[in-house]
């Protein structure tokens, strides 16, 4: 949600490694994302793709290595601070707040506007000239006392949320319970909810999982669309090769926690190692 000055590499992963017990789930992953790029992260089941997402978003702490976001080292920061800094994500197995309405789901994403103090402090520490020392605002009390300040904020949030829902074509469902949505719209809602935190980098975890070719095609256009509209940088995990080849500008291939290939979609398609890794996993090719 915080505007960050333009620097070339949005995300840089340096020697990212994580071990669970004796198992090395991800082994020195090196990668980068440039501003506005759409990069794919593919690999067979259990290759460690989601683990990389979890390390970027702070759910797991890497054993070694660093996550650099806009030149700032965010390794080991708390997940919510990382979200405030501008990284949002979706989940492989959709994790909507199913007892809340569609609109409320998006509004939850916008709650971070009120509570981003820690992130602004981190930014100030990172670059004092660019980011002035933040002042803490007692939003909590304002929310209880319903001060005009807070009511104005609430109104802003609501109109922004409705705008987002319009952008993902869900505005007619706004007051419906999130669990009442069909599968496809649920995926879209999850993306809208992530966008509500005003990210500059969006991580999509298997957005096309469980969709038919028709829906997949629509999703492809949808992602292309929001990337332009919200000037996002996107990193996405996907199994569906056709989908990845159709949309990504660059691809990392992961197997057993290691990068086995990296390059343009065309190069990846003909890469021997990649074909080997996917052999026996043919359904996905």
């Amino acid at each position: 949600m915080i505007k960050i000055s333009e620097k070339k590499s949005v995300l840089k992963l340096e020697n990212l490694t994580i071990k669970f017990g004796g198992l090395t789930a991800v082994d020195s992953f090196n990668g980068y994302l440039n501003k506005g790029e759409l990069v794919g992260l593919i690999g067979p089941n259990g290759a460690g793709k989601t683990t990389i997402f979890n390390m970027i978003t702070g759910i797991y702490r890497p054993t070694f290595g660093n996550v650099i976001f806009n030149g700032m080292d965010i390794t080991g920061m708390k997940p919510h601070v990382i979200t405030h800094l501008g990284i949002a994500r979706t989940f492989q197995n959709i994790r909507l707040f199913s007892e809340m309405t569609v609109l409320e789901n998006v509004l939850v994403g916008e709650h971070s506007w009120l509570t981003n103090f820690a992130a602004r402090k981190a930014l100030h520490k990172h670059d004092p000239e660019e980011y002035p020392r933040p002042r803490w605002k007692p939003w909590f009390w304002s929310a209880i006392l319903k001060t005009p300040d807070y009511l104005k904020m609430e109104k802003e949030m609501k109109s922004h949320a409705l705008e987002l829902l319009k952008a993902v074509e869900l505005e007619k469902y706004a007051h419906l319970s999130a669990s009442a949505l069909p599968y496809g719209p649920q995926r879209k809602l999850e993306i809208a909810r992530a966008l509500a935190t005003k990210p500059s980098l969006l991580l999509l975890d298997e957005p096309a999982a469980g969709m038919n070719p028709q829906e997949t095609h629509e999703l492809l256009e949808f992602i292309e669309n929001i990337r332009k509209k919200f000037s996002l940088t996107i990193l996405l995990i996907e199994h569906d090769m056709k989908f990845v080849m159709g949309i990504c500008e660059r691809i990392y291939v992961l197997d057993y926690g290691k990068i086995i290939a990296h390059g343009l979609p065309k190069e990846i398609q003909n890469n021997k190692k990649v074909i080997e890794a996917y052999l026996g996993d043919e359904i996905y090719v």
Partner: protein, 298 residues
């Protein structure tokens, strides 16, 4: 503090610890399988003691037969509690079964008040032989102490044999790791869970009866605090681990007796030690002494 006092305290500590350990086993086995803190466990214990009490005093049974009937009765009660209150909620949110367990605990306590009366009853239904006192060196030990220690040890050995050497025990341990897979392997999950409740309840009732012999009275709320402390013992040992529960029980009993022995003016806070230990442990090493590996998947 003199040496004989110390020995006396050590023996008392072991004794109390053994009683905690027997109760803790039921907690840890149920938690290991269902991830449920069975708050009613201590109250099943209390009911077992009442059963024994009434069978001996009302039906003039010999004391040992009355004890056995009480223990078996507690086992049956444990079976019923699981069947009626916990099984229907097995697929509900975990907090629901926890709330139900608390309700069950209060249900059994008030049932005891209604049926047996709320006034404590003296529990001296065992032969006079047990209250004889042996003097070894400067230490005075009741024969009852040896009896309790013997029974505790015997039951623990039997339990370890059951869990590690028999087919049913292996099934129990397997189920605590992974219910779906175990049921795929052909084990009847429902029966094994029932059996876990029965064994846990019987062990607890045994402990409860010996508790009532030692602090000779029985009352409707007698199970709650020992139950809670036994749960803490299970956490100390690493919840889900049976050897852990045994070690945790002994440690807790020892600590309680020794702290009061060393600092007599803390006696009023005795019940708080266990809670403090629990909180400190949960903060710094929630997995207990015997770590049971688990990881949340995101």
């Amino acid at each position: 503090m003199s040496a004989s006092n110390l020995i006396q305290d050590l023996i008392n500590g072991i004794l109390l610890g053994g009683l905690y350990a027997l109760i803790a086993v039921g907690y840890t086995m149920v938690y290991g399988i269902l991830r449920l803190i069975n708050f009613a466990h201590g109250d099943i214990l209390m009911m077992g003691v009442y059963f024994a009490f009434y069978f001996i005093s009302a039906f003039t049974m010999p004391w040992w037969l009355g004890f056995i009937v009480g223990i078996v009765g507690a086992g049956a009660l444990g079976f019923m509690v699981e069947r009626v209150a916990y099984r229907p909620l097995r697929n509900a949110p975990r907090i629901s079964s926890l709330i139900t367990a608390i309700g069950m605990s209060f249900f059994l306590e008030s049932l005891a008040v209604v049926v047996f009366g709320g006034i404590p009853k003296s529990f001296n239904l065992y032969p006079k032989f047990f209250s004889r006192i042996l003097i070894i060196g400067h230490t005075r030990i009741q024969v009852l102490t040896f009896f309790i220690l013997g029974v505790t040890l015997l039951l623990m050995l039997a339990l370890v044999w059951l869990l590690y050497k028999t087919k049913i025990g292996i099934a129990m341990r397997a189920i605590s790791v992974d219910i779906p897979t175990t049921s795929l392997m052909g084990a009847n999950v429902d029966n094994i869970i029932s059996l876990t409740f029965i064994i846990g309840s019987m062990l607890a009732a045994t402990s409860g009866i010996m508790w009532a012999m030692r602090y000779p009275q029985v009352q409707p709320y007698m199970g709650f605090v020992p139950g809670l402390k036994a749960f803490i013992a299970a956490v100390i040992g690493g919840i889900g681990s049976v050897p852990g529960a045994l070690v945790g029980g002994f440690l807790l009993g020892m600590v309680e007796i020794l702290i009061v022995g060393l600092f007599p003016n803390l006696a009023g806070y005795r019940d708080a030690f266990a809670y403090v230990i629990l909180i400190v442990l949960l903060m710094f090493r929630p997995s207990g002494i015997f770590k049971v590996y688990s990881e949340q998947k995101v």
